[in-house]
Symmetry: D3
Subunit: 173 residues, 6 copies
């Protein structure tokens, strides 16, 4: 096991999109196995977190089938205590040697824990962004080109766009 | 029991007002028994949630005495996981056949769970709104006409307006 | 409201039985209104907690219809911190002046909080006991005489005895 | 997606053993894809739950590589509320049509939720049992024949037997 | 013990600054012993809560060494239920007779619980404010004069300013 | 700060007794400062955890006044996830270099986290044991010789023995 080099990549994947694919392809060239952590796993049915962890597992698992490295797809619930988060992630995942992230908080936490952090490759963040895709969905604009075909199919089958539109109508009172 | 038709109506009731009464009167004509869920039960002493669950139980229970159907008044704590919320509500309440709500998230969640959702009748939302009543209270304006007399009495006896004014002074630092 | 004297009575009601009825009848002569707290509300589908809070609300609400005092039936989740438990109960219930209990921990906690505790009247505890009734159910013996008729009907309609027998087969591994 | 038949199999896998393999081989002939839920995911470093969820993900993922169906390996934390557990599991997993279990509580909960439950095939439970394997480990007896070779390797590499022996010395005071 | 008069003072101390020192000096003249509660103890690595409870214990304990009264420094996690918060604080601290606070919510909650609340003495809030100090740190401006020397040393040794700058780069997506 | 050597010692202190004093005296000769963690801080009013965290802070703080090293007394709530416990403790305490414990689980967890663990010196465990002292209290036998005088005084003033006797009468039903 020691000889297997594993990298961790964490995202919310609301939804999984082609930007994620580009990152994973680059990581796949650097490590033997990739652990994909699905963050905020307990959240769903919110405008910025419309899909359940299980639905996101399905999206990711279909999208990564083409990668030629072994992957582990692990839902990770928020723990709301930054000082415990690294231990939380480590307890739920196989051992890993490097974390790939551009999120400053994630980088800081793993760095303070003495774990190597590699930046993720750049991709077109203007174009590929969960936030933007959710907005396109809500406003009935074209979004399918931005995600892998298998992901679009998952979203269709769970009526994901309708769900998002419905819950977006909620306001506070 | 199967023959009893129960309807569920959930609100935060911060505070209970005449708009709620109008809705309950209409529901009372459609079902045999009404379950009234007091949402965000764990919250209190906040500007948008000033009253405890117990105080709200008292308000609601006095206000619904005139309805000629049996009522159940059940505090329901937030669970912060939308995908578990329907099960949470069901575990705390007698069996029900229909949910009355105009809240899009509530409608979506019960709908996905295969439970019938009926819209609530319209009432004057500009006039009757918890938010508006709390603002009137904070600014020493007239609010008592907007709630049943028994509710105004409860709020007086717990010094509710004073509490609201005090906590409204809190700011972050 | 000050003039209304309310008493609190807390039980798990797994299930509600005739011993509970005897206690409530005595309390009903002493106070104007009774708050009935359904303890361990979050528990169900266990051999010592087979019924959900909602099912127990239904049992209790039907059984207390004959009492000629107003009742409030409030599910109360365990909080696993004894030092917070009295505040927890108070936040979920209308104000009360006296607690009726024979449970030493409950008595100690309310007593330390400066709240008056009255003992509950004696009844035949050998005969009327939730534990005994659950054992009778599991072993196909006669139990219906020990609970009010309306409670037996609720248990029948939710297939409560079958549920209890099924879950009792669970063992650890 | 509708056409894919998925089955769910949940265990604690403390550790994964050859009895689990036998069950999975039989399930693999009945469904297109298997979701393997790792129960009590939050537990570790206990005599009856020595391994972390991540360590168990590693054991299971290596052991199921020979199965010729797609697998999803999902850590599932305990939720301590039986009435929410089915929703909890469903929120973390891709959609499934059938659950394989011999655990009476699991069977009851999924059954009440209207989900099909298939019994798991019989295997030699005297011989293959997590409890027995943990006892063999603690007492320095032979246990490696009872688990797949890849699992024994994982346990060796994390010094699993030493961990188990150490924590077993804890007593209460 | 009855004769010892203890006062409670609660703050987040993100970070501890000279305004806090001024308050504590005044309180020290009024009571025999001071309990210093470190609020939001579970938070850290956030722009408005950069330091862990342990780091804040260290800051406070060094800063109060000059006070000539005994002090207790107690981390207090948020409980997210205002109606339980006073009991929560009381369960974690030695008995106290008076609370010093200018926070309206804290004052309201202790007041409703029948506990004496004393206002804290005025100090220059424009100058001494955790929020302002954190902003100075983030923008590389002078902040060390605003905190005791021992506190500046603690922050230097844990690389506190760097941590704050890193996590401040996080944005949502 | 780097030059200060701090040691951590964790106990439940139900109650603090002379065995603890002996251990702390030995540790005090080895380190510059001692952090005393009060474990299971959220527990109280139980036969094996009768005293609140705050009451135990009081006992410990009076007992350690004679030690000639600086002490930090920190309540530590249980977290029910062994794999996060070390991070939990570290987040609540000033930095430490060594842990003193004879508890096998505590030793294993800190050891796996790469933190130095020193055994605690032997003392007469037959004589000095929280469990034994609680039993002596319950049965009205002599216990005061087993704890420091200041601790006996604290227990007297909070009516600790009466509390213990009352709650010990609780049984399950």
């Amino acid at each position: 096991m020691e000889k297997v080099c594993r990298g961790l990549y964490i995202g919310r994947f609301q939804p999984y999109h082609r930007g994620h694919s580009q990152v994973l392809q680059v990581i796949a060239e650097k490590v033997d196995e990739i652990i994909i952590g699905i963050g905020s796993a307990q959240q769903s049915h919110q405008t910025n977190n419309p899909f359940t962890a299980g639905e996101r597992v399905l999206m990711v698992s279909q999208a990564v089938e083409k990668l030629n490295v072994k992957t582990y797809i692990i839902p990770i619930e928020d723990i709301h205590r930054n000082s415990l988060w690294v231990s939380h992630v480590k307890s739920l995942t196989p051992p890993f040697q490097v974390v790939y992230s551009n999120n400053p908080l994630v980088m800081e936490l793993f760095c303070e824990a003495g774990i190597k952090v590699g930046g993720t490759p750049l991709f077109n963040r203007e174009k590929y962004s969960g936030k933007r895709i959710r907005e396109l969905m809500q406003t009935d604009k074209k979004w399918k080109d931005l995600v892998p075909k298998s992901v679009a199919r998952v979203i269709d089958e769970i009526d994901g766009v309708d769900r998002l539109k419905h819950i977006a109508k909620t306001d506070d009172s």
